[in-house]
């Protein structure tokens, strides 16, 4: 039992919306993935189990389709449409990312569906919104991101290098986060009123409002942020925060030391690893450690002592980083109360003791492959309504007969 147990969701298979179905299914919803004849094309996307291609071996498909059942339905046929309507009749939610007029051309749009299920929550996610013809042009995660804003803010100090789009289908996933939040909101409303509704989610709009100051610096005072290596894009350039450690790996140093106790801990740490002798600025760390009260940060660059202390703080971090590994630096800084992060690759994070201790990796049995595979786990921990993968991704049409029998 979980928070969405008892909620039936119909998902029309589409690579853009798949993650929203997973978010719903992993919280207990009965998600029926409606696939076209021949199955959803993302079933053939790499990577594959043991690198051997095959319809039921795509790790991409497996990840995005956990906790779902699959039904093959040809919506272009009379029979398929009739079955779809029967399915909707038993359902609470429809999520889809079809071309803007496809469902209306099949007489399966919201206006048609509410006739069989008046309480339906129909959520359509499109590149620019349901009413914009641009939504029907082809897109990829990369082009959505470029249009929506993130790459303008991401990349390097050297602007001859292109802006960068982060990996991981974050454009699709951001749209799906909004689909999921919308469905939850509409369910809460329906619980007290019995009223369903149609929800229009724009993927590029979702990205536009997921860019932090890039948007609001323009909205508030028409200022434009500029991208910088490994740190926030900014209107006025800021100091570097990414440092390469002795093992060649990087850390993000976050906010540099700014409280007396932080300078004290930094000095103690340098003493402990024998770096003080070779660090002439240690005297300023000591000054910082013994400072009376809070620093007036607005005096950095004006007051000589404060400027020297803050510059020594940053330089001390670089000196320490140059002599230890990125992981040691991360742990050492955090123990000194400094908000610093090791720049892990995803697999390094996955293997870290912290996430293991919290139970983040979870095992999923693949009876068909006779394998038990380890998946990324809960993004949130709800003790009364636990997140969980209720079943591996389905084979194409694996549950068609079961669902048809249920509808009969």
């Amino acid at each position: 039992m979980s928070a969405l147990t008892g909620v039936r969701v119909v998902e029309i298979a589409n690579e853009r919306i798949a993650f929203a179905g997973k978010l719903l299914g992993d919280m207990g919803a009965d998600v029926v993935l409606v696939e076209p004849l021949g199955g959803d094309p993302t079933r053939l996307l790499p990577p594959f189990v043991n690198d051997e291609p095959g319809e039921n071996r795509s790790l991409y498909f497996m990840h995005y389709n956990t906790s779902k059942r699959s039904m093959i339905l040809d919506l272009d046929s009379e029979e398929g449409r009739a079955t779809f309507l029967k399915l909707i009749e038993t359902s609470d939610v429809l999520i889809e990312s079809e071309p803007t007029t496809r469902l209306s051309s099949l007489s399966l749009d919201y206006a048609d569906l509410v006739k069989v299920q008046p309480k339906l929550i129909h959520t359509a996610m499109t590149p620019y919104g349901r009413d914009d013809p641009l939504s029907d042009l082809p897109v990829t995660d990369l082009t959505l991101m470029a249009a929506g804003g993130p790459p303008w803010s991401c990349g390097y100090d050297d602007h001859n290098l292109p802006p960068v789009r982060g990996w991981g289908n974050q454009g699709y996933q951001t749209g799906c986060h909004y689909v999921f939040m919308s469905v939850l909101t509409a369910l809460l409303y329906r619980n007290v009123t019995g009223v369903g509704q149609f929800i229009d989610v724009s993927m590029t709009a979702a990205l536009n409002v997921t860019t932090e100051a890039a948007s609001y610096a323009w909205l508030v005072c028409e200022a434009t942020v500029q991208r910088q290596t490994g740190r926030h894009a900014a209107v006025v350039p800021t100091g570097e925060t990414q440092i390469r450690c002795a093992d060649g790996r990087y850390v993000n140093t976050g906010v540099p030391p700014r409280f007396p106790v932080e300078f004290k801990k930094l000095l103690d740490w340098m003493t402990e690893i024998n770096l003080v002798e070779s660090f002439p600025e240690a005297v300023f760390l000591e000054m910082g450690a013994n400072w009376d009260g809070q620093f007036d940060l607005s005096l950095i660059g004006e007051d000589e002592s404060i400027t020297a202390i803050f510059s020594a703080g940053r330089e001390a971090l670089v000196q320490i980083a140059n002599s230890i590994t990125a992981y040691e630096f991360f742990i050492g800084c955090q123990r000194a109360g400094l908000s610093v992060g090791v720049i892990y690759s995803p697999e390094e994070a996955f293997e870290d003791e912290h996430f293991k201790a919290r139970g983040f990796p979870v095992e999923v049995r693949h009876d068909d492959l006779e394998l038990t595979l380890t998946y990324p786990g809960a993004p949130y921990q709800l003790p009364l309504s636990p997140w969980g993968i209720s079943r591996r991704a389905p084979h194409a049409g694996e549950h068609t007969n079961e669902i048809l029998a249920d509808l009969a």
Binding site: G6, G148, G166, Y178, V201, L219, C221, Y344, S385
Partner: protein, 441 residues
């Protein structure tokens, strides 16, 4: 009921973006979100309160542009929780709230005497959602984070970059935004659970876990095939990660007018040494060819409008296999061609050919010039008591029955203290004045 969530009240300690972003969603759908701030520190725990951007030359604790953006439609009160009376008032508010939300470092609320057990005593079915970088349990639970630290540790910084360069990361707090989304989800999931079972719960949200869960296929490639993302050849995250597609990247364009078909932009600006890099104009376009069909159309346009360059190179890339095997060379050739175009001209051409394309839009372009965001109503204007009318991020969704609405700006410090204490808790204005004198509110 007017809003989808107007039957809920949130006792809200959140701040910054990772927390405030979550309750912004709830407030936009009508939830009564009451921000609790500390009068002694004047609410400065939320550093965005007094940080720019600013609408004019005025500076101050009520004038932060980011704070306004993230706290629209919320009420703001002050309570001094060092005092017994302050604690008593908080208990009264919790007793009539559905959820308590916070994104302090782990353990802060508990130290004030308002851990989950205490909350439950006040309101047995309370939903409590805490959001911190590493969660309240586990070896790193005492570690401090903010967006970029969460991104670093959860693999998101690493997986954004170009070969032979350090990680580029995200030039903003992607995981403050997204951590806020997961917090909103957690609050609503727990409220749905309460609708069913009548029970509340404590959700321990760790932003780093939410971040780590965004790498699904890469993590399965690791656990199943033992293939890491840390590879000797580095990462080019502008390329396609899973689906085989090439070209697939961000290419330079010209910032000069008239650099389209007439060749007048041929001034050498895209010449020497610029094949791999930008034109210096910082204008860019993203292009993806999903299959041979997209490539053939693109190669057709290159041949039709060669921009004074030879187009014969296209023939070396006819098959997907050739393009993927020689992607560096393909990107160099294509960049040389795109750098003779203005990005919006080329975008228009490629849209006509139905090839996935998008100009890399600057804030001004996507906010003020892109009709798609304007038509969607994405930038509503709110009325802030001190700042006046300000545009803010809207929500990228529309509901047919209960659409969101953002009308009022972020609360000034203690702006609604009297209103909440009088209307919600039944105090008299005189009592509130006394509490103010006593330093309780």
């Amino acid at each position: 009921m007017t809003g989808a969530l107007s039957h809920f009240r949130i006792c809200d300690f959140t701040g910054q973006l990772a927390g405030a972003g979550a309750t912004k969603w709830l407030a936009a759908f009508g939830a009564d979100v009451i921000r609790i701030e500390d009068p002694v520190r004047q609410g400065r725990w939320d550093i965005l309160r007094g940080l720019g951007p600013f609408v004019d030359e005025r500076r101050g604790n009520d004038l932060g542009g980011g704070f306004n953006n993230h706290n629209t439609n919320k009420k703001g009160i002050t309570l001094n929780l060092r005092t017994q009376k302050g604690k008593d008032l908080l208990r009264e508010i919790i007793a009539v709230s559905d959820a308590v939300t916070e994104n302090f470092a782990a353990g802060v609320l508990e130290k004030w005497g308002f851990g989950y057990e205490a909350l439950k005593e006040i309101k047995p079915d309370i939903v409590y959602v805490s959001n911190c970088g590493f969660g309240h349990k586990g070896p790193y639970s005492r570690f401090k984070t903010w967006g970029p630290i969460v991104q670093a540790v959860s693999g998101l910084t690493f997986s954004s970059g170009l070969p032979d360069q350090p990680p580029a990361g995200w030039g903003y707090s992607y995981m403050d935004h997204t951590g806020g989304y997961y917090m909103a989800m957690a609050i609503m999931l727990a409220l749905l659970e309460r609708d069913k079972s009548g029970k509340g719960q404590w959700v321990d949200l760790a932003c780093t876990e939410a971040g780590l869960s965004l790498h699904g296929p890469a993590l399965l490639d690791w656990t199943v095939n033992h293939r890491p993302l840390r590879r000797p050849e580095g990462i080019n995250s502008n390329r396609s990660q899973c689906a085989p597609m090439a070209p697939h990247g961000i290419y330079p364009c010209s910032g000069e007018d008239g650099s389209g078909e007439d060749g007048s932009g041929e001034d050498g600006s895209a010449g020497e040494g610029s094949e791999e890099e930008g034109s210096g104009d910082d204008e860019w376009i993203a292009i993806s060819c999903r299959h041979d069909g997209d490539w053939q159309k693109l190669a057709g346009l290159i041949t039709e409008i060669p921009q004074d360059l030879s187009a014969t190179w296209c023939e070396d890339f006819n098959s997907q296999g050739q393009r993927l095997a020689n992607e560096d060379e393909l990107d160099r050739k294509l960049a040389n061609w795109t750098s003779r175009w203005q990005k919006f001209d080329l975008q228009q051409r490629l849209r006509q050919l139905e090839i996935p394309v998008a100009a890399v839009q600057k804030p001004q372009e996507r906010i003020d010039q892109d009709p798609t965001t304007q038509n969607f109503g994405l930038w509503p204007t709110v009325e802030h008591t001190e700042m006046g009318e300000v545009r803010v991020d809207g929500l990228p969704v529309h509901f047919s029955e209960t659409n969101w609405e953002l009308t009022t700006g972020a609360p000034c410090l203690s702006e609604h203290t009297e209103q909440v204490l009088v209307d919600l808790l039944g105090k008299t204005p005189d009592e509130v004045a006394t509490l103010r004198e006593e330093g309780v509110v």
